[in-house]
Subunit: 377 residues, 2 copies
Amino acid sequence: VRADLAVQTELDELVAMAQLMELDDLVDLLQDLPGKNTRELLRAMDDRRRDSLEQMLSYPEESAGGLMNLDYIQVRTDVTLRTVLRYLRLLDDLPDNTNQLMVVDRSGQYQGTLRLRSLLTNDPSIPVREVMDREPPYVIATQAQAEVARLFEDEDLISAPVLNEKGLLIGRVTVEDVVDVIRDESEHSLMGRVGMHEDEDLFAPVLVSGRRRSVWLGINLITAFLAAWVIGLFEAALDKVVALAVLMPVVASMGGIAGSQTLTLMIRALALGNIERCNAARLLWKEIGVGLINGFVWALVVALISVLWFGDYGIGGVIAVAMVVNLLCAALAGVVIPLILRRVGVDPALAGGVVLTTVTDVVGFLAFLGLATLLLI
Amino acid sequence: VRADLAVQTELDELVAMAQLMELDDLVDLLQDLPGKNTRELLRAMDDRRRDSLEQMLSYPEESAGGLMNLDYIQVRTDVTLRTVLRYLRLLDDLPDNTNQLMVVDRSGQYQGTLRLRSLLTNDPSIPVREVMDREPPYVIATQAQAEVARLFEDEDLISAPVLNEKGLLIGRVTVEDVVDVIRDESEHSLMGRVGMHEDEDLFAPVLVSGRRRSVWLGINLITAFLAAWVIGLFEAALDKVVALAVLMPVVASMGGIAGSQTLTLMIRALALGNIERCNAARLLWKEIGVGLINGFVWALVVALISVLWFGDYGIGGVIAVAMVVNLLCAALAGVVIPLILRRVGVDPALAGGVVLTTVTDVVGFLAFLGLATLLLI
């Protein structure tokens, strides 16, 4: 009974909190709560708020619908600006980020927006329809949040109406939510790259942090042993020419760096929606070109150092060829891996790095030790 | 003469363009132009615009002063809202992102702001002083742009007055500029990590991209040869036990991953201003704890696999100890390197990764091969 009471108290608190929260924040909260609590919360709300909330909950969390709020002011096309001004004065306050009012016709159909700057700089006797904005930038409820963020950035918006698939006005997105989206996106890319979640707390307990991060270390261990296995295939060569063991990490690491550069460009371009089927091929050729040029340049430098170090022209030749091969593969992998990952529904920002370095390690060791086995032993 | 004419035409075009641009964008442009053009441009402008521009140019590009614009509307404390409404109607339009007007007293001294929502929802006969916001969030012209962005995010601002060190109103920052700052910051971290600039063009010519990226490859080559040199110190050991060459990349790579996790957390925390002298020590202990736990867990796994693979308990023991040592050093390096880099004025997001992996490679090879030399040979 006590436990039940505790649950009940918590729920009461939740209900009280829910009353004070803005609907869009409440939606975020509900999406993280167990279903039972959601139902209880909805039952405790008044009808209008519940209807709105249920509509908002029907859109996925990562869509414009999950971002929108319902705090907007609506005016009719046929009233004068003076009437609008008088109406606003009846309100205690305007909703946050109100830079425009929604305009509907007499039947309630969405027509466009009335910007406050038009309201304030025009003659009050003019009707709304003459100064309203009939084609303001808008978003569709099912649009991805990243797309909404780009629209806000490109058009420098403060707020935008949200329409459903039928063109009906169902809410409003504001720049405040968009700033959060942009910040979250960048955190997600940065943290995802090392297998961490963007909510990772700096001061989380040691055991919690340790467990979370060990998942990524485990994944990396598999790829590290894959590379080790490739090296193991050439034990005979390593046994004869110890210089190979000394130089092999150089080939692998240069490939990893070059590949990461291409990968980073690709991940950013994919996130910004800059990659289409038609330009992917062009990009691939460009990256192959960069890989070849840098491959030849650094192959020369590395070969020179190796020859000076070990006094063996054979090793210099082998490492040069291996460098070119690995930087070429790195460019290829940097373009292709994120495209494949996206195709199979995995976030390239999350898994791209580990897949790429696996490829560059394996190819690097394989090319260097394989060529050495063929040519030097 | 023809070349001179060409230069002159270009300058004329610049002057014409400058006339149309918003001042804050113009400031950005001028900061990238040679000094001679800047002087010509300033000479061609009208006095008021030039004065404003010169004031804006006097602040560093990365400060609030470099972000601000001068398009704001100013009203006096002692007039009524009706007068303000009438004044606004005389204007053709309001500046973009105007959600509040600047309020000054009769002597022109800044007093606060009048929010449009207050203007619209209050009785027109009330004087400005009674409904104005006397302590609105503001920024100081010398503040860092990242700080301004955080203020806008925390307080959900659309615009904020910019004051100079004496508390005089000198401009206005809007959310539109702040969105750019947030986007730039995240690009900077992402691209800087692989030695690229955030302006790197996806479709830049092959030679241009190749040259830019090769700088980073060159830096990495130095660190790769440093690691190779460390391996070279143990040629004797590698010559006797070829399994060491096979397993050594595992130790180095696990350290690199663990260190990158800590480093990423630190860089984000530093950027958000979450690291103070007082909590840095606590953080260091936490990360050392995580490093030790994950070190022991994965040391066990790696040792087990190594023993099964090579049937040699000695190698299992040596690799286990080397793993713990390297993950511990990785945690230490992940916390300390960004702090040191920031102290010496280098951006940790830019150089942190390469310094860190150098440390984890060197420590990994040194611990593993060093212990093997001492204990197995």
